[in-house]
């Protein structure tokens, strides 16, 4: 099977994020970047399919030089090839243009199934996999927690947890599958595989190589743009009421009603 995984490099959850000077981006200085948590499930599922049915796993990511580190991590986990998509014109791409750029790269490759994490933990838009399926004209299954694939019948069965129920859907391959955290347990890359990762192919493609012109991508091609970004206000100090329990209760109820307006 030819398996493709789209990944994003995001700030580590333990990193302290600061907003940059322009008020629209995070300040990347001092930020530790990791492979998006949900993409780990996508990579793991892809490698398991390869181990079962044979074939090749190609990992793709759009982003600047630093995303190579994330791609190498996926190669160390067991992916076979990696492609970095970058061009200065890609800066400030929205989910639609990101999916467009990814789709152009994928169209140059043979593929039977495409995996994406269900969302990136930095921007949380959950829309790239959906756009991608549309742009490629493929069936899709989102937030998948269990997957069965039959490469001969060219079919998949996907299990989804929906509000209060489980849903089982069947579809034709090729398809776009977005992965949810229960799907599998991502492996740690082994030390020998980390050493082998350096020797695996890591290709770079820019706008021209993808047949895109700068008006289609980046902020120009985007359908939504970020106006501003700010950190949540620091939590204000709690209030401690002291005194006679009766009085304190009465005051608490008054504050909940009049100040907090929750009762």
């Amino acid at each position: 099977m030819n398996i493709i995984v789209c990944i994003k490099q995001v700030p580590d959850t333990t990193t302290k994020v600061r907003v940059g000077k322009d008020g629209k981006h995070i300040d990347p200085g001092g930020v530790k970047f990791i492979v998006n948590t949900y993409d780990d499930f996508a990579v793991e599922e892809a490698i398991r399919l390869k181990e079962r049915f044979g074939g090749e796993v190609t990992v793709i990511s759009m982003g600047p030089e630093r995303v190579k580190e994330a791609l190498r991590m996926c190669l160390a986990m067991g992916a076979d090839k990696a492609i970095q998509l970058w061009d200065p014109a890609f800066e400030d791409s929205d989910p639609y243009t990101t999916a467009l750029i990814l789709s152009k790269a994928i169209q140059q490759l043979p593929y039977d199934i495409i995996f994406c994490g269900k969302q990136a933990i930095d921007r949380d838009t959950m829309s790239v996999p959906v756009y991608l399926a549309e742009l490629l004209g493929l069936p899709q299954a989102t937030l998948v927690v269990k997957l069965e694939v039959d490469p001969n019948a060219r079919k998949f069965i996907a299990y989804r947890d929906i509000e209060g129920a489980k849903e089982v859907i069947e579809g034709l391959l090729p398809a776009v599958i977005s992965t949810q955290w229960k799907l599998n347990e991502p492996r740690y890359p082994t030390l020998p595989n980390i050493m082998k990762a350096k020797k695996k192919e890591l290709k770079e493609l820019n706008a021209a190589a993808l047949g895109l012109d700068s008006a289609q991508v980046g902020e120009k091609g985007s359908r939504v743009k970020v106006l501003s970004m700010e950190l949540p206000p620091p939590r204000s100090k709690g209030k401690i009421l002291k005194g006679d329990p009766r009085e304190v209760c009465r005051e608490l109820v008054r504050l909940l009603r009049e100040e907090a307006k929750v009762i």
Partner: protein, 384 residues
């Protein structure tokens, strides 16, 4: 949290960073949440071993025989991260890799290598290293263990004490005198005449198995002699490998203690402000970070020298002596900053502190390393 004040990461290759990050994640997710309980109960976390083997940490800096074939800096970073979890865990990996696998790799016959190294790399077989005796610690040359040739066999007699992993080892490398020369022998588990006793009542390295090995007319086939061993220097060359790992490992312990102390100092409020705002606490934190930074740089250069084949054992002595000394000082200071909480296994400072008392003593005591360096500098041996 990144503890890298001099940006030593910029001196590492992409693979070295990936390897460190992988082991770091494993230790954060799998070791740190459970290790305090193991320390309290005095048990080794055996269930981590299959996964550590799958990662490829055993004999990771050896070439071939299913070993990962990493360079020595990557190997050192693994030791650092493991000991950031616990010195007992790092000791387990050190003994298996640097003492046992290295000894077989360097002094073994082809058959011995093929028999033991792949299964040890896979974590299916374990080894231990029997050099120290009850009456011969810093002076192993005086050892009482003896081997005598008897037809196609050797008969071994002697007692080895303070042997890490002894009770779970499938094979023990026993150093004993054969016609007056110290040689290494492979003694397999279950050999008649070999008795293994687990040593209890330790207040240090509690999450690690320590044993006593008693050999009474223990008869082993002649092919179990490590053929290339020649005298004490063969055993000491294995110790150099292990001490190299300890020099890195101690930095890991120190990092864990510093991180814990810093976080605690920033959040612990006394006199209406974080204790980190007091000069006496800041002085301690600065001392810690400075010592860690110096040790990081020392390890890295030591590793680069080792990779070039230019490392001298006296340099290893200096790094082991310095780094364990500073780590122990840092653990004590961290314990102090944590106040009463510092004595609890809910935190890691006292666990590291107690562990490091062993690390200071084993693989050459701090005093012996000073004397090794004293001899190097002056040309005059102060011992023997």
């Amino acid at each position: 949290m990144k503890i890298d004040f001099f940006n030593t990461e910029s001196l590492l290759s992409e693979e070295e960073i990936l390897i460190r990050n992988t082991i770091r994640k494993f230790v954060d997710e799998r070791v740190i949440p459970i290790i305090g309980d193991h320390f309290e109960k005095g048990t080794f976390p055996m269930d981590l071993i299959p996964d550590l083997a799958k990662l490829g940490v055993f004999g990771a800096n050896l070439q071939g025989y299913e070993c990962a074939g990493l360079n020595n800096v990557a190997y050192g970073l693994i030791m650092q991260e493991l000991e950031r979890g616990d010195s007992g865990l790092r000791s387990f990996v050190s003994v298996q890799s640097a003492l046992v696998m290295y000894a077989i790799y360097t002094y073994g016959s082809q058959e011995q290598k093929e028999k033991w190294l792949p299964s040890m790399a896979r974590g299916e077989k374990f080894g231990c290293f029997g050099l120290t005796e009850p009456d011969y610690g810093s002076n192993p040359a005086g050892m009482q263990a003896r081997a005598v040739k008897d037809g196609k066999f050797y008969i071994l007699n002697g007692t080895k004490r303070w042997i890490t992993n002894g009770s779970i080892a499938d094979v023990a490398i026993i150093w004993a005198k054969l016609n007056g020369q110290i040689r290494g022998f492979l003694v397999e588990k279950g050999t008649p005449g070999l008795t293994v006793l687990e040593m209890k009542k330790k207040l240090s390295l509690r999450a690690s198995i320590t044993s006593e090995l008693i050999l009474e007319d223990c008869r082993i086939p002649e092919e179990n002699l490590l053929p290339k061993t020649e005298g004490l220097k063969s055993a000491l060359s294995c110790l150099t490998q292990a001490r190299y790992g300890i020099a890195w490992g101690a930095v890991g312990s120190a990092m864990a203690c510093y991180e814990e102390a810093l976080n605690y100092a920033k959040t612990r409020i006394q006199f209406d402000k974080p204790i980190a705002s007091f000069q006496l606490i800041q002085e301690k934190l600065v001392f810690m970070l400075t010592e860690i930074t110096k040790a990081q740089l020392m390890c890295l250069q030591l590793g680069r020298l080792k990779d070039k084949g230019e490392m001298d054992y006296t340099q290893v002595s200096m790094a082991k002596l310095n780094n364990v000394h500073m780590a122990l000082e840092i653990a004590r200071e961290a314990r102090d900053i944590l106040g009463a909480n510092g004595i609890s296994l809910e935190y890691s400072a006292i666990r590291h502190m107690n562990n490091l008392e062993s690390v200071k003593t084993y693989e050459g005591t701090e005093n012996m390393h000073k004397l090794i360096l004293g001899q190097k500098i002056t040309g005059i041996p102060a011992f023997n």
